[in-house]
Amino acid sequence: MAGLSLQGVGKTYSGNVDAVTGVEIEIADGEFIVLVGPSGCGKSTLLRMVAGLETVTRGEIRIGDRVVNRLDPADRDIAMVFQNYALYPHMSVRDNMAYGLKNRGESRAVIDERVAEAARMLELGPYLDRKPRALSGGQRQRVAMGRAIVRQPAAFLFDEPLSNLDAKLRVSMRGEIRRLQRRLGTTSLYVTHDQLEAMTLADRLVVLNGGRVEQIGAPLEVYRSPASTFVAGFIGSPAMNLLDARVEGGRVVLEDQAIGGAELPEGPVTLGLRPEDLRLVQAGGLALRLDYVEELGAQRILHGFVGGQPLSVAEAGAAPLSDVVRVAVREDRLHLFETRSGHRIERAGLAAMEPAE
């Protein structure tokens, strides 16, 4: 088992496509890291460079204390789980799991023991002699995990392993992966575009945008203080409201209404408000002209406009709503971003002020 270290890693595909640029990540032994970001942001490319399936254009990748840039995938001591499972269709479940070990020249006894162990862990015992086509999606997924486990690698690499499963199975497999990883203590790098999956699985999140690392941090840390408007909009569901506001005389002003203090130079800022941090109130606050309401059961999401800007509010109540509702903002939950660059302006810049209720 070993840590993982990426230093200045970049990838340029033929035709000068910069898929990944300047990625720096230090991953501790046993850590579960989730790479998350929208489609095309270079998550798979990064993972495949670690796996050795893609050449590294710039920078250095270490697994443990070995630089692996030039090593074959088989020599990197990693195991990978693919989105479409990539099981060998003509081999039984047992042979699928044993194939890598056979190629490494492990003895029959060792192979049998490891396969049996993995099968027990993943409850695959009854299916060992079946071909993959005779398995359900979830079972195939487990075989793919089994194939990774039996190798006892330094690191697991997952590329959207759950996205072919239905929603319910995805939730239970998610738990299973997490439990397994805790139990084995194997360093893991996991790619997903599903922010919920990212939040629930990760020890630390790496948010990627356009091939660059936007933020690295524990899920809650990223949720509570997103480093940029991009992260703010990506992590959290429903997404954070990002509104054009101004700083005037030490106060943040949204649509002519002061909603908090800020020791900042005058000018435009982007104001971030999480829908779940907003509350409905009888009087005061912002006037929200309702557009439509999504009922989710446990809560409902109110979509509407403040002035000309869209705003959504997550709320647990069931009371009937009028066309215009009043929304209060918790001042300690304001997020401010530079309008031009989208960078977060730290809360130190926010002076305490009476709530705008």
């Binding site: 399936l53 995938p73 990978m80 060998y88 890598g100 086509r133």
Partner: protein
């Protein structure tokens, strides 16, 4: 279910008759005496000369040298057919593997060059091929009979398309599992290609089995005669008052039909099994 109409059956029955009657005719005629065939035409009823004809055809030593039996010709044809089919499959699989999985320059151009040879049948290059074989001293050998015809654009094309449809992740999983290029080919691609191999075996076996012109050119030694040549030479004895042994020609034709039928029947089963078993 759709209602079965009598007309459909009629059409089918006519089709079956159309295809089967000539075969039955050949089989039945082969059991009569040549004189009867010569005077009465073909038969649709069995005669009483069957056993004698087939025994004679299979074991009687004929030809100029007087020691070529039908059995020998059957064997030669089999060697041609199997050698062809196996050789073509092996060669075209390896060519397709190189084209699809190895990044070398000009791979696409090379492929199209191979592909255009589809337009050039053997007959176009038969003289140069003969010249090459003769210079190499390979006339009158099985090698000379088989090897020049092994390169197969059809086979390469089919295998290339098939390999392209194999998901890339399978290759990647195999690479992570420590399978080198050769192991991946043997352990993954070959088993996955079973269906394709069966299909190409059928086509190529029959192609090789039916070769006539090439063996005619390549072999002067009667020990290498194939069934196709045997049938022809029986019918070529029309000198003076001698009648060709029609019954023997028919018997040989019937015999010549059996192995391809057997190949189709055997491989068809594998073929269909392969089709229904794979989930791709």
């Amino acid at each position: 279910m759709q209602k079965i109409k009598p007309l459909d059956h009629l059409v089918l029955i006519l089709g079956v008759l159309f295809l089967c009657v000539p075969v039955v005719m050949a089989l039945m005629s082969s059991t009569h005496y040549p004189v009867d065939i010569h005077s009465n035409g073909l038969f649709l009823t069995p005669g009483d000369n069957g056993l004698a004809t087939y025994t004679k055809v299979l074991t009687d030593r004929g030809g100029f040298t007087g020691d070529v039996t039908g059995l020998r010709m059957l064997m030669n044809s089999l060697i041609m057919g199997v050698g062809f089919a196996v050789g073509k499959i092996v060669l075209s699989m390896m060519a397709a593997y190189a084209l699809v999985y190895f990044r070398f320059r000009f791979a696409t151009i090379l492929f199209w060059m191979i592909f255009t040879t589809l337009l050039l049948p053997l007959e176009v290059r038969i003289m140069p091929s003969y010249q090459v074989m003769s210079t190499l001293g390979l006339l009158n050998t099985y090698t000379g009979l088989i090897v020049p015809l092994l390169a197969s654009a059809t086979g390469t094309f089919f295998f290339r398309q098939f390999f392209k449809s194999v998901p890339d992740e399978l290759l990647e999983a195999a690479r992570i599992d420590g399978a080198g290029p050769w192991k991946f080919f043997i352990d993954v691609l070959v088993p996955l290609s079973k269906t394709m191999m069966a299909a190409i075996f059928i086509i190529m076996f029959i192609y090789g089995w039916n070769q006539y012109l090439w063996p005619l050119l390549m072999t002067t030694d009667e020990h290498f005669y194939t069934l196709m040549r045997g049938i022809k030479s029986i019918l070529q004895v029309w000198v003076g008052s001698q009648i060709p042994d029609y019954n023997e020609a028919f018997a040989l034709a019937v015999l010549a039909m059996l192995p391809p039928v057997a190949v189709v029947v055997i491989f068809q089963r594998m073929f269909i099994k392969g089709l229904t078993e794979s989930d791709k």
